[in-house]
Subunit: 303 residues, 2 copies
């Protein structure tokens, strides 16, 4: 090969590779700014809960794809106004905030019975799974399905939701069938992944988790409030579809099967922001944010 | 070999192995109840900080073995009463609570200058490392040194502290040498391990972290309080050695190089409690508790 031609190829290759190697990866705000409307999805009002607390509203997206029986129970309980005027009875630091009726003062509405555990479920071929590339301490594979952090085992052909910050689970007693959905908790600390496959997870807090995580901790064992500590009132729990349109929270959440979400994961695995001198190069399932934003109702005018 | 003799050996082996295989592994409370005084260590009053808040005391154990320059700065600042009457200016949900003097109203005492980053350090042969067996998403090896969650890279010959819940870090600007120790934060959410090797970690909260994690979140960007939100007063920060004996917190912490701690790790990798139907079989670094308990001062009588 003539020397000059070899030189030309080298230069061309160097030039072609420049844009990729020299381009700064995007930061998360840049990824979100570049996202298109198709990268976001609205919430299904039939599967959105509003937990009304004295200081504001906690918005929960339910996960009927993972726990259909428990979600059905929770919706029956909400429509029967079972949760109204109950209290947050347990706030354990670095663990959970929990509400329910441990003294059984509120009778359960009819139709609420024992259900199968739903701690995990078969791995359906049709379920999208955005797999993370960096492994996991607890499960063979982790990633996102239907907007939720999930794990799966191809050898067991099972999938399950993961106990990340803000996930909502069903309190139960020793019996695996004792969790009806009448007692719920939200993770407010480092992901207690040892609970995975031992409890039914039924959704995720999309907004207002700080109203739970900033509550005073209970002083009794496991963070239960003592008799002298006032539980926080749960004013009501409603299904969004049952709330007048004007009183709804209009949120949308990123699609976890979108190109924007894939770019977001990369923006967090290797943060390009100047502050980070040693990019992690990896990311833990529960450190991936799943952005939520206000949605302008269809037809609304720009103010 | 005669058949009967072979049968005898089989039976003996089966019998000998029974206690090990049939014995229920211990739970964490059982491990702690079976621990001996030698499994615990007192705190060094010279390396213990008391952060006095209106609602109580936060006790921090400093880590001079990992960040000697920053720890020296923090002790100089505390002894100069630099921190007194400052405020907690930032509480970001699922991230950090932070105090300092961002407007530079308090002049830094003399002797507080720029120090080397101390984001990681050489891996000393003499440093004990209780390594976890289950891997880690972020680092080649993780475990515990000197009572603290740590990571290390044998190929780089470096070790560093890990951003687990309750760890205390040094706020800084973009310049890696801008963190003097005058601004400190405590992790109050899922471990932000991407900060590892990008910030100097200087210790761990041993008691009172809930006084920080339950504070109202700030509404400005990154959880900073807005002008209309009142920061929580930091009444004072003192070194325990400077506090009269009667006013000290008498705590002791488990030795992370003890047999009791090794048993504790196992009790959490595979929880024997009846509640757990599917033991995790693994544990994430930041899910291992490092127990702390009240210590009876030497010579005190049993009540």
């Amino acid at each position: 090969m003539p020397r000059n031609f070899r030189f030309l190829i080298c230069c061309t290759l160097a030039f072609l590779s420049l844009p990729a190697s020299a381009a700064q990866p995007l930061s998360m705000p840049e990824v979100l700014a570049a996202s298109t409307p198709a990268d976001w999805r609205p919430l299904d009002p039939e599967n959105t809960l509003y937990v009304e607390l004295p200081r504001g509203r906690v918005v929960i997206e339910l996960a009927p794809g993972f726990a259909p029986l428990h979600v059905a129970n929770i919706k029956t309980l909400a429509r029967a106004r079972y949760f109204d005027a109950l209290g947050i009875i347990r706030v354990q630091d670095n663990y959970v905030a929990q509400w329910g009726d441990p003294d059984n003062r509120h009778p359960l509405p009819s139709g609420i019975g024992k259900v199968a555990p739903e701690f995990d479920s078969p791995m359906p071929a049709a379920m999208h799974f955005t797999r993370l590339p960096d492994g996991d301490v607890y499960a063979p594979e982790v990633g996102f399905s239907d907007g939720l952090p999930a794990a799966r085992s191809p050898s067991l052909h099972r999938t399950w939701l993961a106990h990340c910050y803000g996930m909502v689970g069903v309190g139960r007693d020793m019996d695996v069938q004792s969790g009806s959905g009448a007692e719920l908790y939200v993770v407010i600390g480092h992901a207690p992944r040892h609970l995975d496959r031992n409890v039914a997870l039924v959704g995720r807090v999309l907004q207002g988790v700080e109203l739970l995580s900033s509550l005073p901790r209970g002083s009794d064992a496991m963070g239960f409030y003592s008799k002298t500590e006032a539980p926080t009132l749960v004013k009501s729990i409603r299904i969004a579809a049952d709330v007048p349109e004007a009183q709804r929270s209009h949120l949308e959440v990123i699609r976890t099967d979108s190109a924007a979400f894939a770019a977001l994961i990369e923006s967090r695995r290797n943060r390009p922001e100047e502050f980070f001198k040693v990019p992690a190069g990896h990311i833990d399932l529960c450190n991936v944010p799943i952005p939520v934003r206000e949605r302008r109702p269809a037809g609304a005018r720009t103010p």
